[in-house]
């Protein structure tokens, strides 16, 4: 299992009240590993992914509507993810954050990220929870 290391260099000091972290994917806010094996592992994967923040907006990738599907077969988690644009400069950060979060869980042996573009992402895919958070930040979608 990978070791999760976070270094507090004071980067989060002075952030606006509603923004809690600068760390890639919101790593300092991640929970887990789960203390017990989850009964519904697919649901647990969704919950774990809901902790991973977008690199540019302080809402999760799930709330942003970027996660299209997840499945767990033989301890291999497969995550279908899209991006807001074809030239998203954060693609590699997002991939790493997704993998690192899921690999914390001992019941996941491997993570496969599958990049998908169908259907194309639009702001319509932002969840109501995501909209509410963005609204608090003054971002309308």
């Amino acid at each position: 299992m990978p070791t999760l290391t976070t270094t507090d260099r004071g980067l989060d000091k002075g952030l606006p009240g509603r923004i809690s972290t600068h760390k890639s994917g919101g790593r300092d806010l991640w929970t887990g590993p789960l203390k017990e094996l989850p009964a519904d592992r697919t649901k647990a994967i969704w919950a774990a992914l809901d902790e991973v923040l977008d690199p540019e907006l302080p809402i999760s990738l799930v709330e942003l509507g970027l996660i299209y599907d997840v499945e767990l077969i033989d301890e291999i988690a497969r995550v279908q993810v899209t991006f807001t644009s074809t030239a998203c400069p954060c693609i590699e950060f997002i991939r790493d954050d997704l993998i690192d979060r899921l690999e914390i869980e001992p019941w996941i042996n491997k993570v496969e990220i599958i990049e998908v573009w169908d259907p194309p992402w639009t702001t319509e895919r932002v969840t109501s929870a995501g909209r509410a958070k963005l609204g608090q930040l003054g971002v309308g979608v």
């Binding site: 644009s85 074809t86 259907p119 194309p120």
Partner: protein, 262 residues
């Protein structure tokens, strides 16, 4: 909806034609991005510079997704993207050189980028699954390019006679190589139509002319009268010549080659 293409069932010429189609689209997208990037610091307003920066980024994103499709036809994209000489690029000839003035790049974002979108539209409606699933996102992003292009084209066309003249000359210069590229009807192009991978060159050209007819008329260019360049090179899927070396060095990432981490 047409049944998906099974690449295993394509014969040698069929695979070569698909490879050529993917490559010319990818190379053209990459060069479109290069030409937009030429103007990051030279646009007439900071807003226009930001817009063209975003468009350059989009084009490179499209190129990235298109180059990745080459894996389906047993070509390694990494070498294609970072190691080819200029002579092997199959991009549309209209993008071979930098544009000397803002009217030139506005003409290109109208005349060239629209042709790329029409070609991608045909590709997205075909039987090749990767195109069906990836190209619609590109086309959605291209709607913003077309919107900006039309706004600037109209703005320049309605300004001074000198500016309108520059736009007219650029439009006239770009149309022949673009029409040759979009309207190519050689053996490989026909194979792709027969296999249901893309639309016919004739139908794409008609769509293209219809989309731009009113716009080019603003600078007294009748797009129906414009004719394609000669000298089509079937092997390279483009007309004569190749992109300038400076652009290719940037496209390949020569300066930062030591930092390549893909």
């Amino acid at each position: 909806m047409k049944a998906l293409l099974d690449i295993q069932n394509l014969d040698g010429p069929g695979v070569a034609a698909l490879r050529r189609l993917i490559l010319t689209l990818a190379d053209s997208k990459r060069m479109m991005g290069i030409r937009y990037s030429d103007w990051l610091l030279g646009a007439p307003s900071i807003e226009a510079g930001i817009a063209i920066s975003s468009m350059a980024q989009d084009e490179w994103g499209h190129a990235r997704l298109l180059y990745a499709m080459l894996k389906d036809v047993d070509v390694e994209p990494l070498a294609i993207e970072h190691e080819r000489p200029a002579e092997e690029y199959t991009s549309v000839g209209a993008l071979d050189s930098a544009f000397e003035h803002w009217a030139g790049i506005v003409a290109a974002m109208t005349v060239v980028d629209e042709a790329l979108s029409v070609a991608l539209l045909g590709f997205s409606r075909g039987r090749y699954e990767a195109a069906r699933t990836r190209v619609p996102k590109m086309l959605a992003e291209e709607e913003f390019h077309a919107s900006l292009a039309k706004a600037w084209y109209r703005r320049i066309a309605g300004s001074s006679s000198e500016a309108r003249g520059l736009l007219r000359d650029s439009t006239k210069e770009l149309l022949p190589p673009v029409l040759a590229w979009l309207g190519a009807d050689d053996a490989a192009a026909k194979v792709m139509v027969v296999e249901g991978v893309t639309d016919s060159s004739q139908s794409m050209t008609e769509v293209y002319r219809a989309r731009l007819r009113d716009l080019t008329a603003l600078v007294e260019v009748d797009i129906n009268q414009a004719q394609p360049d000669g000298g089509w090179d079937e092997d390279r899927a483009r007309g004569p010549g190749w992109p300038d070396e400076d652009a290719i060095e940037r496209a390949r990432g020569d300066r930062n080659r030591a930092l390549l981490v893909e």
